[in-house]
Amino acid sequence: MHICYSSSKMAKHACQLNFLSRSDGSALYSIGNTVALASVNGPGEVKKSNRHYNRSHLEVCYSPSTGQSMIGERTLESVILHTVEQVILVHLHPRTATNVTIQEMQSDGLALSTSVNATCLALLDAGVQMKSPFAAVTCCLTPSGTIIIEPTEAELKESEALATFVFDGQALNVLSAHQEGCLDSENFYACLRKCQTAAKDVLNFYRRIMEEKYSSDKSYN
């Protein structure tokens, strides 16, 4: 078990792999003060009603830190499901199911991007075959026109708009996009470019974590 920290250019990213002993793969991921725990089980047993003849059935379950799961959490699950569905090689495991469970540990406004990143690392930890890793970056636009990458909850409250983008690991193309608040075209593209650049750092962070996991001078049990 090990913890890695990213460079100091953005909010501090930290991650601990294999946090849960009974899951196939798990990752405790934090961006600043937002912390999410993702656990992956699969590909494994599937209910008859969910069985697909040519692919694995994906399920995502998101639990908030406080309160009951409501419509906001369901939409978060839906976004993560569709993102992950695109990247996992589901056709390699027909008539199985892969479960992703995300528990929000601490919330400071970046629930979506922390959950997505935690999911990616949990999938890598579980060894589920994927086309490429994926990285989520959130940014917000303040009333004065500044773009802040990975804002805190307080900064988000003051902002006019926020946008979360998920990029794939190969060519940094847009896998998912979610925007709230109004942005004119040039601000939207400025946010997209900034997030794309930040995503490179996130992907390098993943690489460092995975290198540490498999480094030969550590006895990994």
Partner: protein, 243 residues
């Protein structure tokens, strides 16, 4: 890229305070708005509420089963809620009747009766048309007796500050994208992208939940096509309201 013809009719539900029926090709969506009086929450004592809810019953398509709202219905409800708050369509303080005591709560029920793809666009058009059709009765509040009385005869429409319009595209591959997908396009494609624009061309919401990877310049093309659609849809709704 060609889009399907859109038909809008307002005031189709006489028992509702505002209503509309929208057809985008074969996709048919009805929106009914009921206004009820509620108590504002302590945190926002001078704001009313607007609660959109989307229902997808088995009658509209074989994809939907009876029971609690499924993923598509919830995603669409959340999408409408997001667009209303991002675009600041309504000033919620306009819905307040008496500070900290009475406020209007608009329950917007969007029901799809025939699903042929592109629910997001149709649902938003239906919601906007129904909101422009809402007439709220005048309310007088007697402070001494703590009683509110509603005068159904005197009604006022609500003022909308923005009129967002959604445009959905299906992405098949790097070179093939279709605008205004039908149900068949959606099942065959690899994901939808919805772009919501305001009348002045600024982006109110972008919704791309997974699906095929796209290059940023493709988003550019989508935004340009969406701009033409905004004008067409708003003129259509405006014409219907004025009749």
């Amino acid at each position: 890229m060609s889009v399907r013809p859109i038909t809008v009719k307002v005031g189709t539900i006489t028992t509702a305070d505002g209503s509309s029926t929208v057809r985008v090709g074969h996709t048919t969506v009805i929106c009914g708005i009921k206004a009820e009086i509620a108590t504002p929450v302590l945190r926002n004592p001078n704001q009313g509420f607007i609660v959109p809810n989307v229902e997808l019953y088995p009658c509209c398509s074989h994809m939907f089963k009876i029971g609690p709202p499924g993923e598509k219905a919830m995603a669409t409800s959340q999408f409408l809620k997001n667009v209303i708050s991002s675009a600041k369509v309504l000033d919620l303080t306009d819905l307040c009747i008496v500070h900290n005591k009475l406020a209007w709560c608009l329950y917007c029920d969007v029901v799809c009766i025939n699903y042929d793809g592109n629910l997001y666009d149709a649902a938003l058009i239906a919601l906007m048309a129904a909101l422009q059709n809402v007439k709220l009765p005048a309310v007088s509040y007697d402070e001494e007796n703590d009683k509110a009385s509603v005068d159904i005869e005197r009604t006022l429409p609500i003022t909308l500050k923005a009129r967002p319009v959604a445009s959905t595209f299906t992405v098949y591959s790097d070179s093939i994208q279709l605008m205004d997908p039908t149900a068949e396009d959606e099942t065959q494609g690899s994901g939808e992208v919805t772009v919501v624009l305001l009348e002045n061309g600024s982006l109110c919401t972008t919704h791309k939940p997974g699906g095929q990877l796209i290059l940023p310049n493709i988003l550019d093309t989508f935004v340009d096509l969406a701009k033409q659609r905004v004008h067409a849809v708003n003129t259509l709704i405006g014409k219907e309201i004025n009749e």
